[in-house]
């Protein structure tokens, strides 16, 4: 009894705690979002340490020194829109002593990975955070795509996509546009921002946010994106655009078949790249896809799957690790979220973007292990009495009545049951009688009120 009280006390205490927690979590979320920008890992530039205030190269030179972009970023040659990597020539006007007399580590490590520098071989990547952070965060595909969706006759693909995104020899992943691509339009007189070898700082700021190159949290908007958005590549995923292009004629798809949200994206933060559920339209249900390329064969895409057949826990016979015993009772959130991968094993499940619509597929046909041979005749009532809500997950809308409105086995032969056969059953389990009957509509027909 003490234990019960303890459990009850614990439960009620935790109830209150959880409600308070909800409030705290909400407040914490707001606070976390506001402070996350200040605490982003990997934003501390080279040369700073925990004991020193972080040094942000671009922010310092723009705001503290007052330099314009073109002080460091100069064209490779006159008329070119390709800018060379800033080197000693650009730094020397201010840092001549730092390079030639008193060599300072803080200066060198902005570009070199070792100190003292040995050669150009130890230079850090340029741009500094290439494939890690976006360099044109606010790029809007919606503003740039061709409103007429014209097709390039030579390739059969959308001309605007293919203009900006090219493919290297292996054809695996597309490249992103660079200054040369942008200059196709932005080099013309009157265009804003103007891209030329004489672009001003205002022009550069039309696309770039230099203060945030080293410090993504400098703006109120948190300009940091998932690595696969920045790099255009998914980790541990094997994929080739070229392999898909070969099938274009057969499947009548285009760039926007998979990249269907690109045309409406107004910033890289809202750019949604294809998800696993998007592959299903072709890789799961279309017969022309050979079995080796169906989604049931994980290693078609997932490179971390060992060679051979799919793992046993994905085989549709053995359950995956996440399918614990409690998962049987608490999988609603997992199964109803968008992109839930139930369909990979449960072949009757239809994947949809609206996750909760997937539920019906399983709950129509799968029978719980508890529904044994004696379940329907006797056992189910005792468990339905304990937790009817579990029943209602599958048995919705007057399912019970279908059986409960027919004469039960115990009532036959009916004449003898009415004549007296019901007495022992009623004394043993009167509740079962009142599951369907009431005293007034059944018992009261024969038994006097004095029985009450």
């Amino acid at each position: 009894m003490d234990f019960r009280r303890w459990v009850i006390g614990l439960a009620l205490g935790l109830n209150r705690g959880l409600v308070c927690g909800i409030v705290c979590l909400a407040a914490g979320s707001v606070y976390a979002n506001s402070t996350r920008a200040q605490q982003t890992s990997g934003t501390q530039p080279a040369g700073s340490s925990a004991s020193q205030a972080p040094f942000y190269l671009h922010d310092y030179h723009l705001k503290q020194v007052g330099l314009d972009c073109d002080a460091c970023h100069v064209a490779q040659k006159e008329g070119s829109v390709v800018f060379q990597r800033p080197g000693h020539d650009q730094c020397t006007p201010c840092h001549d002593d730092d390079f030639n007399k008193d060599i300072k580590q803080k200066i060198c490590v902005q570009c070199h990975s070792v100190f003292p520098p040995t050669s150009s071989d130890d230079l850090l990547p340029f741009p500094r955070y290439k494939n890690v952070r976006p360099i044109v965060y606010d790029f809007s595909h919606a503003k740039h795509v061709d409103p007429h969706s014209r097709i390039d006759a030579r390739t059969g693909f959308r001309a605007d996509c293919a203009y900006c995104h090219h493919f290297p020899a292996d054809g695996a992943y597309a490249t992103f546009g660079d200054h040369v691509i942008c200059a196709g339009c932005h080099s013309k007189a009157g265009m804003k921002p103007l891209l030329s070898d004489k672009s001003t700082t205002a022009d550069c700021r039309g696309c770039h946010h230099p203060e945030e190159i080293e410090n993504p949290g400098a703006a109120t908007v948190h300009r940091e994106l998932a690595s696969f958005v920045v790099s255009g590549k998914y980790q541990q995923i094997r994929f080739s655009h070229a392999d898909h292009f070969r099938e274009k004629g057969s499947y009548h798809f285009d760039c926007t078949t998979c990249h269907y949200e690109v045309a409406s994206s107004t910033s890289l933060s809202s750019l949604s790249l294809p998800k696993m559920v998007d592959c299903v339209n072709c890789h799961s249900v279309s017969k022309r896809i050979e079995a080796d390329y169906r989604m049931s064969n994980c290693q078609v895409c997932h490179v971390d799957v060992p060679s051979g057949a799919v793992p046993e826990f994905h085989s549709g016979i053995v359950k995956p690790p996440s399918h614990t015993e409690s998962f049987r009772f608490h999988h609603a959130d997992d199964a109803s979220k968008p992109g839930a991968p139930c369909f990979v094993c449960h072949i009757n499940v239809e994947p949809t973007a609206i996750g909760q619509q997937q539920c019906a597929s399983c709950h129509r046909v799968m029978m719980p292990v508890s529904h044994t041979a004696r379940w329907k005749d006797d056992v189910h009532g005792k468990y339905a009495a304990l937790d009817r809500m579990t029943c209602s997950v599958c048995h919705v809308v007057d399912f019970c009545n279908r059986c409960h409105n027919q004469t039960p086995r115990s009532h036959l032969p009916l004449a003898q049951f009415k004549a007296g056969g019901h007495a022992q059953l009623a004394m043993l389990n009167e509740r079962s009688c009142f599951t369907c009957h009431t005293f007034s509509n059944t018992c009261g027909e024969c038994h006097s009120e004095s029985l009450k």
């Binding site: 959880l18 979320s29 390039d152 292009f245 614990t324 006797d378 009545n401 036959l412």
Partner: protein, 546 residues
């Protein structure tokens, strides 16, 4: 009075009109704003820019090799084209149920002896109550097309067929849902709809889907209907509105029309707010907020109303780190009022079916209560996982205790082990201990069931499984044991036992086909069914997909 009776409908109509306006506003495509002069100019300028780029400015360079890849040769034919877009999943099974009897009479005194004109002192002779076996066949077929004739159009149909292969008598313990309503077969169209989806290039209609036909829509309640639903999915929000006519194979209710809407707003990548509404005689409204914190924490809270009465509040917090080894779920629920549907939202629809002499099950409402669940699982290592659940419910008012509603403590624990490769063991234990059923409180009336019901339930299950041939063949066997303590007006039952054996085998013929075999042997609570010793079920089936 008439005004009062109309008031909920007026409220609903007002709400629905507001929702429609909201939906219409949301449905306005991003390009609607392009109707402004400034945006029109911008649209023209980008079009002109592409004109210049594609016709004049850009030199006609050789396209990327990847883009110029020759397409695979494909010979289209009408039949081949259809088969390329056709899918079908099928599951067909044969089931045999066999019951063994003890020779004792049933609890109502029925015995397995031929009827005669002379009274039998041993009981009431009625052989149909002792049918020993039956054979049944079930089949579920799901088929449809994707992108056939038009890549905008999909179709989906699900047919459920069940058939008694042997006659089942009215008093047989083998009777099942197939035998109800004087039928021994059922053919049910569970779903049958056509989707018309917007293409990404369709502007305002991109991300839209129109579904017409027999369908299920999950929302504030599950809507099974013949009707229309329309979904709009945008990066920042999505909504579905639907309406139609309720379908049922089990009854003939007067009220048929139903409808509703699901509206979801995404606040960034980490949080969503959802409002679901459903109307069928009464309205049900559900509000839900979901938030993720980092990669491990997920928080969800919901509030539900039926009509104008608040009925449920719940809050869940789930901790599930990416390594998948640990999960923790904390759940709190408060039943605020009992003014909702006690089991089935269709219960308000009066049934006109002459074969349904009774209206509904008398399960009564679920009364206000507080409920807390702690569920945790932990993979100790690659071969052992432990987990458990504590579920506590307390009725707010002890006087609300009833035959189907009581305070309780429910404990569930399990252990999964994989001592060897391809072998796994599962042990589960479940205990439910109900409060407030005291024999010391005598019933006040003959039909007073307030103290009636299960006081304690225990379940123990053990299973062992083994896979062969790299998972193609899977065998599983186990057993279960149930123990029940029960209290009734006139009877106290302790340790009523039920036990059985489970076994199944499955073999993947290929990537599309699977054979399976299930067997279970199940005894009964002999105190309730003294005539039945046990029942066995054999189920053999084939699941395949095209």
């Amino acid at each position: 009075m008439a005004y009062l009776s109309r008031l909920p409908m007026q409220k609903f109509a007002t709400l629905f009109a507001a929702l429609c306006l909201f939906a219409a506003a949301c449905a306005a495509p991003p390009s609607v704003s392009a109707n402004s002069p400034a945006e029109d100019k911008s649209s023209e300028s980008i079009g002109d820019a592409w004109d210049n780029l594609l016709k004049n400015t850009i030199p006609q360079t050789t396209p990327d090799a990847a883009l110029a890849t020759a397409p695979m040769t494909y010979e289209a034919s009408p039949a081949g084209d259809f088969l390329d877009h056709f899918f079908m999943n099928n599951r067909t099974e044969y089931m045999r149920t066999q019951t063994y009897f003890t020779g004792l009479p049933t609890v109502t005194g029925v015995i397995n002896e031929p009827a005669s004109s002379v009274a039998n002192p041993n009981g009431i002779p009625y052989p149909p109550a002792f049918q020993s076996d039956t054979n049944e066949m079930y089949s579920v077929v799901n088929w449809g097309t994707r992108g056939w004739l038009s890549d905008r159009v999909n179709s989906n149909f699900t047919l459920n067929y069940s058939q008694d292969l042997t006659h089942v008598t009215d008093a047989s313990p083998q009777r099942s849902i197939i035998d109800t309503f004087d039928s021994n077969r059922r053919l049910e169209l569970i779903s049958g709809y056509i989707d018309i989806d917007g293409r990404p290039s369709d502007g305002a209609f991109s991300g839209t889907s129109l579904r017409v036909g027999r369908q299920d829509v999950y929302g504030a309640e599950l809507a099974e209907m013949d009707g229309v639903s329309f979904t709009l999915n945008r990066p920042g929000y999505s909504w579905t509105i639907y309406g139609g006519r309720r379908y049922t194979y089990f009854s003939d209710p007067a009220q048929r029309a139903m409808g509703g809407g699901n509206f979801l707003i995404r606040f960034g990548k980490d949080s969503t707010f959802e409002y679901d509404t459903f109307y069928y005689i009464r309205g049900t409204n559900l509000f839900r907020y979901r938030q993720t914190f980092g990669n491990a924490w997920f928080f969800s809270t919901g509030f539900r109303m039926v009509g104008s009465s608040p009925t449920d509040f719940n809050a869940d917090a789930i901790w599930s780190p990416e390594d998948g080894r640990t999960s923790l779920r904390l759940s709190f629920a408060q039943k605020i009022t009992n003014k909702d549907y006690f089991y089935d939202y269709t219960e308000d629809a009066r049934d006109f079916d002459p074969r349904n002499p009774l209206f509904r099950l008398n399960l009564e409402a679920l009364h206000p209560h507080s409920q807390f669940i702690i569920d945790a699982s932990r993979a100790i290592n690659d071969r052992l996982r432990l987990g458990g659940t504590v579920w506590v419910r307390r009725l707010n008012n002890i006087q609300d205790t009833g035959p189907f509603d009581t305070s309780f403590q429910d404990y569930r624990g399990y252990c999964q082990m994989s001592p060897w490769s391809s072998v796994d063991l599962l042990f589960t234990y479940h205990l439910r201990d109900s409060d407030n059923r005291s024999k010391n409180i005598p019933p006040t009336e003959f039909d007073d069931l307030s103290n009636t019901g299960e006081t304690k339930v225990q379940d123990f299950t053990a299973e062992v499984g083994r896979t062969f041939l790299r998972g193609r063949l899977a065998l599983r066997a186990g057993g279960f044991y149930r123990n029940l303590n029960f209290l009734d007006q006139f009877t106290v039952i302790t340790n009523a036992r039920d036990k059985g054996v489970l076994g199944d085998a499955a073999f993947k013929l290929d990537s599309r086909s699977r054979l399976y075999f299930d067997y279970d042997l199940d005894t009964d609570y002999s105190v309730f069914r003294p005539d039945i010793q046990n029942s066995q079920t054999f189920r053999f089936g084939l699941a395949w997909s095209y």
